[in-house]
């Protein structure tokens, strides 16, 4: 009853809104489907990880800055990982080449450090377009209000601050992240009445 109560709305949300992510590289042989939406874009992204060190994927997106649709061929590489008994730290390189041309692309870095109780991450991305290049950056700090067991519903309450060079303003807001099994959802709502929505399914 409990599981169905959670999964059915998740599938419904996934199906109706298209779909989203946390870790940019999965385990070896793993696939991931994500949906992402914020004030800059709405996208669906699929990636496959031949190794836990890198992933290859395709992202279909509606670019809200340029007001057009196109796709990215994406490559993500795990540059560094440090595992301890109580924590994990990661640094990733991210890149993408647009279907509009090789000169429309992006590169970026993503880093995170987490324990079972605390989570921090940052991201930095430079996007080249045919209209105007821009950069995006963000930081996230989070706390797990309780420590669930394997298979439980896990909850994170996060604070996110982000900026893009188009508006040149920092925007900060709370984010709720929930995951259970292979599903994850992350939702944030900022003062400008904009939703950040991430959904992810890993298989």
């Amino acid at each position: 009853m409990g599981i169905r109560f959670f999964i059915l709305p998740a599938i419904l949300t996934f199906a109706l809104t298209t779909a989203l992510s946390a870790r940019p590289v999965s385990y070896t042989g793993g696939s991931t489907v994500m949906y992402f939406s914020d004030e800059l874009k709405e996208s669906v992204y699929y990636h496959y990880s031949p190794s836990y060190r890198y992933s290859l994927g395709l992202e279909w997106l509606k670019d809200k800055v340029q007001n057009k649709n196109y796709a990215y061929l994406r490559y993500t590489h795990l540059l560094n990982r440090k595992n301890t008994q109580t924590s994990q730290r990661n640094l990733y390189f991210q890149s993408g080449i647009s279907s509009e041309g090789i000169d429309r692309n992006f590169i970026g870095l993503h880093g995170d450090w987490e324990t079972r109780r605390l989570f921090t991450s940052f991201g930095l991305k430079h996007v080249q377009t045919d209209v105007k290049d821009y950069t995006e950056e963000y930081i996230q700090l989070g706390l797990a209000p309780y420590l669930g067991d394997y298979g439980d519903l896990h909850t994170w309450i996060l604070f996110k601050a982000k900026r893009n060079s188009l508006t040149n303003e920092w925007n900060s807001y709370p984010v709720l992240k929930l995951f259970k099994g292979n599903f994850m959802v992350e939702l944030g709502y900022d003062e400008n009445d904009e939703w950040d929505a991430h959904l992810m399914y890993r298989f």
């Binding site: 109560f5 709305p9 870790r23 595992n83 008994q85 669930g148 394997y150 519903l153 909850t155 959802v185």
Partner: protein, 142 residues
């Protein structure tokens, strides 16, 4: 419409989070491995290691004859990150059952007695999920 969908999704999820918290508080009065009240101390080849007793008893309840690989894993800090471990070992020949203990960084895998357990193979499988194996012990249920 988007807000309605998200509300429909969030409300039951938050209710479940509270339910899990109550269940968790009831069964565990601690977060980490430092509390020894509910731990089972086993000796293997003269080396002692700890297991959550309730968890271990539940794991072996349906097993008759098996060998259990007890793995200490580093970097297993979230459920979502540990999913690949379960998926990988479930494909193994002679696999019977698996338990992932996030609190103590332990993975228990039960195999048929006929299976020859190879530490380097298990280490590679843990690494393919992005974590590190730091210790491995084998228990047998005769």
């Amino acid at each position: 419409m988007k807000r309605i969908l998200i509300s429909v999704f969030l409300l039951p999820s938050l209710a479940l989070a509270g339910e899990h918290q109550m269940k968790h508080d009831k069964h565990h009065s601690h977060d980490g491995p430092e509390n020894h009240e509910n731990h089972l101390h086993k000796m293997v080849d003269g080396q002692e290691f700890q297991l959550d007793e309730e968890r271990y008893n539940k794991f072996v309840a349906d097993l008759s004859t098996a060998q259990i690989a007890i793995l200490s894993v580093q970097g297993m800090v979230c459920d979502f990150c540990a999913r690949g471990i379960e998926k990988t070992f479930k494909k193994d020949e002679g696999y019977q059952n698996i338990d992932v203990d996030l609190s103590n960084g332990k993975v228990l895998i039960a195999y048929d007695m006929a299976v020859r357990l190879d530490r380097s193979d298990i280490e590679k499988k843990i690494l393919s999920n992005g974590q590190n194996l730091v210790d491995m012990q084998i228990l047998t249920i005769p």
